[in-house]
């Protein structure tokens, strides 16, 4: 349990909910690569209290890949020559859209 300087003690995990109701419990640190989720978890928003972020535009299969990317990123932040993730071509366009929405389109710094 850490307190991120907010009023409520923030959990180490956040829950991401897809359009079709699937819930993914992810390490909070890993999701912070996305500026969108980072913004949602800031104090004035409801998500910061509940720790539950709903994505009515993203389906479970795509959100699954996004969550995989979060963990992949979290594991490899400081490593050089990281191989690409395995992305099925069927969902690449939806994934493009999700990545754009979540702000995952620039190099992590």
């Amino acid at each position: 349990m850490t307190t991120n300087g907010d009023e409520a003690p923030a959990s180490k995990y956040v829950t991401l909910i897809s359009a079709d109701g699937f819930e993914f419990v992810v390490l909070r640190e890993a999701t912070l690569i996305s500026p969108t989720i980072k913004g949602m978890l800031r104090s004035p928003f409801a998500e910061s209290k509940t720790g539950r972020c709903e994505f009515p535009e993203i389906n479970a299969d795509v959100l699954d890949k996004v969550v995989e990317y979060f963990l992949y990123w979290h594991k490899n932040v400081d490593k050089p020559n990281v191989p690409d993730m395995d992305i099925p071509p069927e969902i690449c366009l939806q994934l493009l859209q999700a990545a754009d929405f979540l702000g995952l389109d620039k190099q992590s710094s």
Binding site: K79, L93, A99, K106
Partner: protein
């Protein structure tokens, strides 16, 4: 006689099993028996076996000997073997067994055939290269009748290829390539064919050209790899033919006098290239990857790239300090292997650098922008680029902490885009991206990525990773020199500068722009530390 056991009936060939029946039917009352007697006398037996037992009086055998069973005649080749439907057989067709048998033996297609008219003596003919004499004339006529008959079934519909038809020019190119292939000619001359587009399959055939080895006396037989020379000059080609990149042993490539706007970075994969001519195109820059083809890493001896509407800079002077530090700082210290070499060598000395164009989501965010590629038809303009000293680096205001090598994985957007361009249905994807609900920057990013993918992909010049959309781009201006080494010395300075001698050149031919591409905002030129005396300059063109 009756007490004597009769012999068991020999197993007969299938067509004769019906014979006893048929023969017994001959004795049936009320049916006049008409036997053709034209070819077999009644006394003549067609059995080749002598009678086994003289006392044999089996009725079948009696009949066998007495009536002279009709012998079947077989005409034609063995695989077409069937009893000829001659007049005698058709007369016998009333008999049950016989008819069945005939039906069984005759293929269905012959059933409708009209009774043959009596034939004259058959003419035999032998093919020139064959020892077999075959009947001709009679059968060809019946065959043609059969072909036109009512039971003739139409064959399976022929597969019609619906691909784009080959242009006349490309057919001509294929013919030329095929001829080179047959003759073992390594020099493929496709100049001035008005090709416009040349497909990968046409160029793929060039890979199969194998030189004919020298078989002179006292010369060791040696199969050497081909040294392909491909001339595609003056063809009006406006996209780099990607098939060229698959020709491994290409040593000479001429694309002079086309409308090329860009050369693919994958050109660097042609490591055997010795001579490259890209003059008289619409090129504004060359890919920096081309530099890896220079000696001693590559084998490039000459590069003809003038005239082209290349980028240019205003300055007539260059800074002495900076280039070496910039190169080692940006691309790492690369120890040039100083192998022994002889002959010509091309050197490209860095003289200046443009500012860096930063882009984000496919749009340029920096003040500096590279001019877009232009059409040849609109008139060739030489674009003058800004110049940036090696100790300066303009960056967009928003960015901080750009130093240090890039670490961590590629962004999800980039990875997804990379997967998207590997799909084959580019048109459908573009259609989807054109949808108003899709964000605007998707389509240009995808188009650019697809174009680069078709050109063989590209990689970051700094961190060498594969990339889809370059995030940073800048131009290096280099001076090309062709140096001839005579004394086998390792140092270029001891060589004699032959062509492009600096004093003899005019201003435009001096500098050639090479485009560098970086995959992220971390992959940028190294900012050379300032030091006293760095302002020293020298003129680009010597002499008055």
């Amino acid at each position: 006689m009756d007490e004597e056991p009769t012999l068991p009936i020999l197993p007969d060939a299938p067509w004769s099993t019906a014979a006893p029946q048929g023969l017994s039917s001959l004795t049936r009352p009320g049916r006049p028996r008409k036997l053709p007697r034209g070819f077999a006398s009644p006394a003549y037996t067609d059995s080749s076996d002598p009678p086994v037992f003289s006392s044999d009086d089996s009725p079948a055998l009696d009949n066998y000997a007495g009536d002279g069973r009709r012998k079947r005649r077989y005409v034609g080749s063995w695989f077409d073997q069937q009893p000829v439907l001659s007049s005698d057989a058709s007369m016998d067709s009333g008999m049950g067994g016989e008819e069945e048998e005939t039906k069984m033996l005759r293929p269905a297609k012959r059933r409708w055939a009209p009774p043959m008219e009596p034939r004259g003596p058959r003419k035999l003919k032998r093919q020139l290269d064959s020892g077999v004499w075959l009947a001709r004339g009679d059968f060809s006529s019946t065959d043609s009748e059969e072909l036109g008959g009512p039971e003739m079934k139409p064959g399976p519909a022929k597969l019609v290829l619906t691909g784009p038809a080959l242009s006349v020019e490309e057919q001509e190119a294929r013919r030329l390539v095929r001829r080179c292939q047959e003759e073992g000619n390594e020099s493929v001359d496709l100049n001035s064919l008005n090709l416009k587009i040349i497909s990968d399959t046409t160029l793929e055939a060039i890979n199969h050209i194998a030189p004919i080895p020298n078989v002179d006396k006292d010369v060791f037989f040696e199969q050497r790899p081909p040294a392909i020379q491909l001339y595609l000059a003056a063809n009006g080609i406006d996209r780099f033919p990607t098939g060229v990149l698959n020709i491994q042993h290409l040593t000479v490539l001429s694309l002079r006098g086309n409308n090329l706007k860009e050369l693919p970075p994958a050109l660097a994969s042609l490591t055997h290239l010795k001579f490259l001519n890209v003059a008289q195109n619409a090129l504004q820059f060359l890919p920096a990857e081309l530099l890896t083809l220079l000696k001693p890493r590559g084998r490039l001896e000459d590069l003809k790239c003038q005239p082209n509407p290349f980028f240019d800079i205003k300055e007539d002077r260059y800074h002495v300090y900076g280039p070496a530090e910039y190169e080692s700082g940006t691309f790492g210290v690369t120890e040039e292997p100083c192998g022994e070499w002889e002959g010509f060598k091309l050197t490209a000395t860095l003289r200046a650098r443009s500012p860096v164009q930063f882009s984000h989501r496919g749009t340029v965010v920096s003040n500096f922008k590279l001019p877009p590629s232009q059409e040849v038809s609109t008139g060739v303009r030489w674009n003058i680029l800004e110049q940036e000293e090696f100790w300066h680096l303009q960056t967009p205001k928003a960015t901080t902490a750009l130093h240090g090598p890039r670490r961590g994985p590629a962004s999800l957007f980039e990875q997804a885009l990379r997967v998207a361009v590997t799909r084959t249905d580019h048109d459908e994807i573009q259609e989807l991206l054109r949808d108003p609900t899709a964000p605007d920057h998707f389509l240009p990013a995808f188009q650019r990525a697809a174009e680069m993918e078709a050109m063989g992909g590209q990689s970051c010049c700094v961190c060498k990773r594969d990339m889809v959309v370059p995030a940073t781009e800048w131009v290096e201006f280099r001076e090309l020199d062709r140096v001839k080494m005579e004394n086998n010395g390792p140092l270029p300075s001891t060589g004699e500068v032959l062509e492009h001698h600096r004093a003899g050149r005019n201003r435009e031919e001096c500098l050639v722009p090479f485009l560098r591409r970086g995959c992220s905002w971390h992959c940028i030129p190294f900012k050379v530390p300032e030091k006293p005396g760095m302002e020293e300059t020298r003129p680009l063109v010597e002499g008055p």
